[in-house]
């Protein structure tokens, strides 16, 4: 029994931190938006090809872009690009040792999430005006 009490004790301190901190949410969103853009690439290339296939193709591309589902997808895509870009700028700044401290990194993660959402909202407002 003596040896048992001398073993290192595992104190589960994970309970002190939020289960899914904002930095993690931002990071997961970076991956999710990346996957969304990867999946979207063939569709975008298809639309590019159609739009450049003579005047008739150009008109057909405009019709394809006009659907409500296409617009929802484009909205998600704009959000994805903005979020991914802000997250990327954050990573580039880390590489030159800007904002790599925990407290700053938490703040910049918030800015990435907010920035992406703001760009998406601006795009939505721009379309509706």
């Amino acid at each position: 029994m003596q040896s048992k009490t001398q073993r290192p004790v595992f104190l589960d301190l994970r309970i002190l931190t939020p289960r899914l901190p904002l930095v993690a949410i931002m990071s997961i969103m970076n991956r999710a938006t990346g996957v969304l853009m990867f999946v979207s690439a063939p569709v975008l290339i298809y639309l590019l090809g159609v739009s450049l296939d003579g005047p008739a193709g150009y008109d057909r591309a405009l019709v394809l872009l006009d659907g409500i589902l296409t617009k929802l997808w484009l909205f998600a895509l704009i959000w994805a690009v903005a979020h991914h870009m802000f997250a990327g700028i954050r990573f580039l700044l880390f590489d030159i040792d800007v904002g790599a401290e925990l407290e700053q990194a938490r703040k910049s993660a918030l800015w990435v999430v907010v920035g992406g959402a703001v760009v998406a909202a601006l795009a939505l407002i721009g379309v509706m005006l």
């Binding site: 990346g34 063939p42 590019l48 090809g49 450049l52 296939d53 003579g54 150009y58 990327g88 700028i89």
Partner: protein, 113 residues
């Protein structure tokens, strides 16, 4: 590049391509916001301009490389059985190569024919 430095190479490539993609996206956004081509002639003429074709080809090359490194990292993190992982990686590589050939054909043949 030695096997040990492969990760460093990927890290470097991901940042270079990311920076180029970001610059090109800002340029594209500016064009579509302030000088959007109004009809087919303007649109195809813009794409066919040598400056746009060359920087556009570079953009798609950067996107394919960036997507490869990113999706590869995600697959390595979440897909563990070797066969499944190899299959998924092969599928992704084929999709990206196909996209590259396809967009090259569009930008070089369709527009400049």
């Amino acid at each position: 590049m030695s096997r040990q430095a492969a990760g460093l190479w990927a890290w470097f490539l991901q940042r270079i391509t990311g920076a180029y993609i970001a610059l090109f996206v800002v340029y594209l956004t500016g064009v579509f916001l302030f000088a959007a081509p109004a009809d087919y002639a303007a649109w195809s003429g813009w794409v066919a301009a040598p400056w746009v074709t060359v920087t556009g080809m570079l953009f798609f090359l950067a996107v394919l490389l960036h997507a490869w490194i990113g999706v590869r990292d995600i697959l390595i993190d979440y897909v563990h059985p070797t066969g499944l992982r190899l299959g998924a990686l092969t599928g992704v590589a084929l999709v990206l190569l196909g996209c590259g050939v396809w967009v090259t054909k569009i930008l070089l043949l369709t527009v400049h024919s």
